[in-house]
Amino acid sequence: MSCHDAREQFSALIDDALDAGERAALDAHLATCADCRRELQRFRDTVGLVRAAAPVRAPAGFVDRVLEATRPVPWPRRLVRDLFLPWPVKLPMEAAAIVLVAVGVALVYRGSPELEQSIRQEPAAPVMTQAPRDTPPEVKASAPARENEDSRELYGARREKAREQDTPREPEKAKEAPRAQERVQEFAKEPGAVSRDANLQKAPKSPDSQAPVIGKLEAPASGAERQRAAKDNVRSGTTQPTERRADSLKAQRPASAPPTAAAPSVTSAFVPPDVSGQLAVSDRELALRSLKELAARLRAVETRRFDTSDGPIIELAVPRETYAELNSGLARLGRWRPGKEPSTLPATIRVVVRITG
């Protein structure tokens, strides 16, 4: 046995893992080799050092932590754990979710004022445009006006807009026509003219309970409208219930914006005329008579007439065929300055003639 072979078996010798034959052969070599004996001793010492190493002890609380880990996790905690682990994956997702929710909330909050406004507007708008129209003229009492008084006041400005938007609506116009007729008849029964200015001052002092309502109603309206209302009151006089005037006014207002963009001087018309103009004459009475004849000849119907301190204002419904003739006829009566004509003339053209001079 060589020294190398002998030393290869030192480990097994120390561990008593050699069989009898191996052990005998090794012992025989060691008996004759001092180097191998010394080397065996060093080998034995090395193993002794290793085996003498300080024992390792598990850290304090290790058993408890193991037992804790083996206990079944209650489902809420398991859920939480599942939600939050593994964090390298879940954390960014959760962060993203939080950001998303925050953005959503911010958007909703930012959108809410508009939402709120639109909700507030909804009920007010239809009340303004419908309530007066839906009420039959005979039953037009003060109640609806009073009910909507506040909202009208609040949304006066908006109502103006709504009116403009409503103008092109044909059904309203259709409704307007008979009402306008009716009103003209009413005017006919009315007593003589009163000063417009005087009436303007009188209106709020009227004993009629509705007078203040009118005042309020007109508050946000334009100056032209106020004038119109005042004139209306003049025509209606004392025999006409003031609220009725107000209601009629309201009823017509939705359609009042002139599609022809008529001059603001057309103060007499509740329904905007298609054409309006000024006829300067030297003799009013003669002009009125001539106009009546002219209208009769041209199959034009006088639909309304207002007498103002400046002179009479006459509204005529003229068939399209005779409209040109009316224009030339008016030009013969005096200095006729018609306003802008609509690009397309309706079958029946409403012409307002303001006689001055």
Binding site: A12, D15, A17, F43, P55, V56, F62
Partner: protein
Amino acid sequence: MEGRTGDDASLVDRLRRGDPRAFEDLVIAYQHRVFGVALRMLGNRAEAEELAQEVFLRVHRAIGEFRGEAKLSTWLYAIASRLCLNRLASGERRMARHGDEALTRLASREISPAEEVERSELETALHRAIAELGEERRIVVVLRDLEGLSYEEIATALELELGTVRSRLHRARMDLREKLERFLP
């Protein structure tokens, strides 16, 4: 060894019967040995504790599968060794190579200050020498000289031939003999 085997047999019986105290007794009985293997192999206390916990959790889950063909201790060492070698083989613990400082703090026996200095030096050298062994040799010497397993038990735990265990152990000891030369009398 005989006594422990007897304890293991009753412990295994209790574990199989579902005795709630049995698992706790198992952890108490084996915590230091399992943690010791993990620490010697990984060189890092935190990592060693994590791995030791994993060993017991696996035992807890798989206790029903334990046949009793090997000793309970061998089964535990087998699980611990496999987990250690797997972890060492994986790249996830390359940062945990600085186990030397942790290893120097392992000594906890009551010794004199002079002894402590000497011991500390020896311990440091010893653990460094063990740590520097190749993983396959290291596990064999840990199981044999530090944990006291027989060649057969090591062969069972590591699923190796007896000859392989013997030769690896011898190579490991030869390495250690050279490294610890200056501490030898």
